[in-house]
Amino acid sequence: MTKVVIVSDRIETALIGPTGPEHRKLANKVMEEALKQARLRFEDLSYIVATGYGRINVPFADRQITEITCHAKGLYSLLPTVKTIIDIGGQDSKGIRIKDGKVINFVMNDKCAAGTGRFLEVIADSLGVPLNDLGKLSLEASRATPISSTCTVFAEHEVTNQLANGESVANLVAGVHESIATRVYSLVRKLQIEKDIAVTGGGAKNIGLVKALEGKFGSPVLIPPEPLITGALGAALLGKEKWEKARLDGYTPTRSKEGLQEAKLFT
């Protein structure tokens, strides 16, 4: 998924673009859409920062900054009391500790689907439940079916077996949420967890998962208004900071000199 956020002294626009294998090349398309929405031209942009896995595929970006730093910045601007951030994305999960908006420690899990949105996708698929309905459905559960496998593939087997044995879909979904929350808690507790805790990324939109996390962390968590754009927002704010500092110091920051174009990927 490609997201674009444009800021001035406020958020001008935030756009979430389509997914798909070709989306790697299409940062420019999403940018065009965002500019249209904001009624701006490409030339109006003073500085562009790219973040996330695809950050190397944005030829017109002036700077690349990791998602860790960007999520921290973006979240802090929306929820300034937050000291611990949990980001549950489609492909990875992260824990970030921040102090006055700066990252002081972080942990990542990007090797293993357990504890990420991918786990949810696989299970949702095998249960025949649309991804967006998982949260609401799990709230109807009478219990969270314990799932012992941490491997996504094995867990899928377990879930299918349980279904065949008459376990309800709602209970199984609740069980999967428990499983993910356990993995995420395991990861994030490597940091010195301090409140307020916030959850962001796609996982934050799943009310059932959020509740499971609150149970594990033993504390209510804050959710930003649109969890999918905190990274892009942070990137924009960091870009703004860089550009303003440069102006104060009396120079123009180096820019990419690339126009709005498709990424040229080596095949």
Binding site: S148, S149, C151, H157, K190
Partner: protein
């Protein structure tokens, strides 16, 4: 799957008395302080047993603790605790489970962590390790533990034996290896004296070594009874009956246990009672620690008529006379000779068959003595010490012996998250078919 806690049935009455031993060992560590005794976090088969028993030091067996957590399928919370301070999940899970437990206890100011099995294990007054040829965690785990128990002194002995080399007669190196082991054991005694504030009673130590020698002999004689057809006891039970000689060696209770087991096996043989009825296939468990949470898999084998009359795992003993130990007045030197001679016992046999190795020579000896039909290995992913080299053993076995049915199973000793029961049973089923096919081929 997480909820199934089938009671593991044992074939022998004697084996049913094992939980008492295990619990007794754990509770001894909790009672030690009021009895004026010191607790030592120690390892099995590390050369330390006789020294501890002679000095009334109560061993806290971390491996046993982790094994119990695993058998109860309740190790995860401790594994996660260790993970939370950056212990990798790929490390020895015996160690990380126990370290996680100690971490939790320290955090709670010494209060026993909730859910510690069977009342938990006492806090150690000292930690003993050994940098030998068996396993790195045996000196890294003590060291890592000290990070959380900073007031507890650690001592690491180094008990080596000559490494296998087909071109070298290891007997030429024995003397300086035994000298080294003996010196290291003397240093260990000095350390224990310092911590306990008591001097070693050398006569008592000699008596304890006598008793453990006797126990070794009785143990091997008893297990040799399993050569009977049908076998009266299989590896499923042995993973229990190994407890006294492994965790209580040097005590009268351990010796008495094998007297009882010996009698029971003789009775069963007299009555023709076997583990499986009918007994179709006899297998050797040739290497690997079992998955402690999945001991029921042995019953699954039994249900198909397959039994394990013999195993290599936890049979770390041989008849003393076969080891041909030189006489000495120093009980520590006796331990050293027994150590060096036991771990090199199959070198001579291996040298006689080109391409063979000691481990394989041993498997062949048991395979023939116990009239086996097939071989099973178990590869546990978190234990390099016992499971690296299994592919090689299987290959050498086929090459230097014969093309017998071999199964290599995979799993872990403590971490249940990678275990898949259905998958495991499928593999066992397929192996039974292989055994059947091999037998038919032999007939024709």
């Amino acid at each position: 799957m997480a909820e199934e806690k089938k009671r593991r049935a044992v074939a022998t009455k004697t084996a049913a008395g094992i939980p008492k031993f295990v619990r007794g060992n754990l509770s001894a560590t909790l009672k030690a302080k009021e009895e004026g005794k010191k607790v030592a976090k120690a390892f099995i088969h590390d050369g330390h047993d006789e020294i501890m028993r002679a000095m009334d030091i109560v061993p806290a067996w971390g491996e046993s603790f982790s094994g119990v957590c695993a058998a109860k399928r309740d190790a995860e919370k401790f594994l996660q605790k260790a993970e939370s301070d950056n212990f990798s999940r790929s490390l020895c899970t015996y160690a990380t489970c126990h370290i996680g437990f100690e971490m939790a206890r320290e955090e709670q100011g010494g209060a026993m962590p909730e859910g510690a099995p069977w009342g938990g294990m006492g806090r150690p007054d000292m930690i003993l390790g050994n940098g030998q040829l068996l396993c790195d965690p045996r000196f890294k785990w003590p060291q890592a533990l000290q990070h959380y128990l900073r007031d507890v002194p650690v001592f690491v002995t180094n008990m080596y034996y000559p490494p296998w080399d087909p071109n070298v007669d290891h007997h030429e190196q024995e003397k300086f290896y035994v000298k080294y082991c003996t010196e290291e054991l003397h240093e260990t005694v000095k350390f224990c004296e310092k911590v306990t504030g008591k001097k070693m009673d050398w006569d008592r130590l000699a008596a304890v070594v006598d008793l453990s020698d006797k126990t070794w002999d009785l143990f091997v004689d008893t297990y040799d009874l399993r050569k009977a057809i049908p076998t009266p006891m299989d590896t499923g039970d042995a993973m229990n009956t190994m407890v006294p000689i492994t965790f209580n060696i040097g005590t009268q209770e351990a010796y008495d246990f094998y007297v009882e087991l010996n009698n029971e096996l003789k009775e069963k043989i007299a009555q023709g009672i076997g583990v499986a009825d009918p007994e179709k296939y006899r297998l050797i468990w040739a290497a690997g620690l079992p998955s402690w949470f999945a001991l029921n898999d042995f019953q699954y084998f039994n249900g198909k008529g397959a039994v394990f009359p013999v195993e290599v795992t936890y049979r770390d003993h041989e008849k003393i006379e076969r080891l041909d130990l030189p006489k000495t007045n120093d009980p520590l030197e006796r331990i050293a000779w027994r150590w060096v001679r036991y771990w090199t016992h199959w070198y001579d046999a291996a040298r006689k068959i080109p391409g063979s190795t000691p481990k394989v020579a041993r498997i062949i000896e048991y395979f023939e003595d116990y009239k086996c039909d097939g071989v099973v290995f178990h590869s546990a992913f978190s234990c390099r010490s016992w499971h690296a080299g299994i592919i090689h053993q299987a290959e050498v076995l086929r090459k230097v012996y014969k093309d017998i049915p071999i199964l290599i199973m995979e799993g872990d000793i403590v971490d249940i998250s990678s275990y898949n029961e259905a998958d495991t049973h499928n593999r066992i089923d397929a192996f039974i078919e292989t055994l059947e096919a091999y037998r038919n081929k032999q007939k024709n």
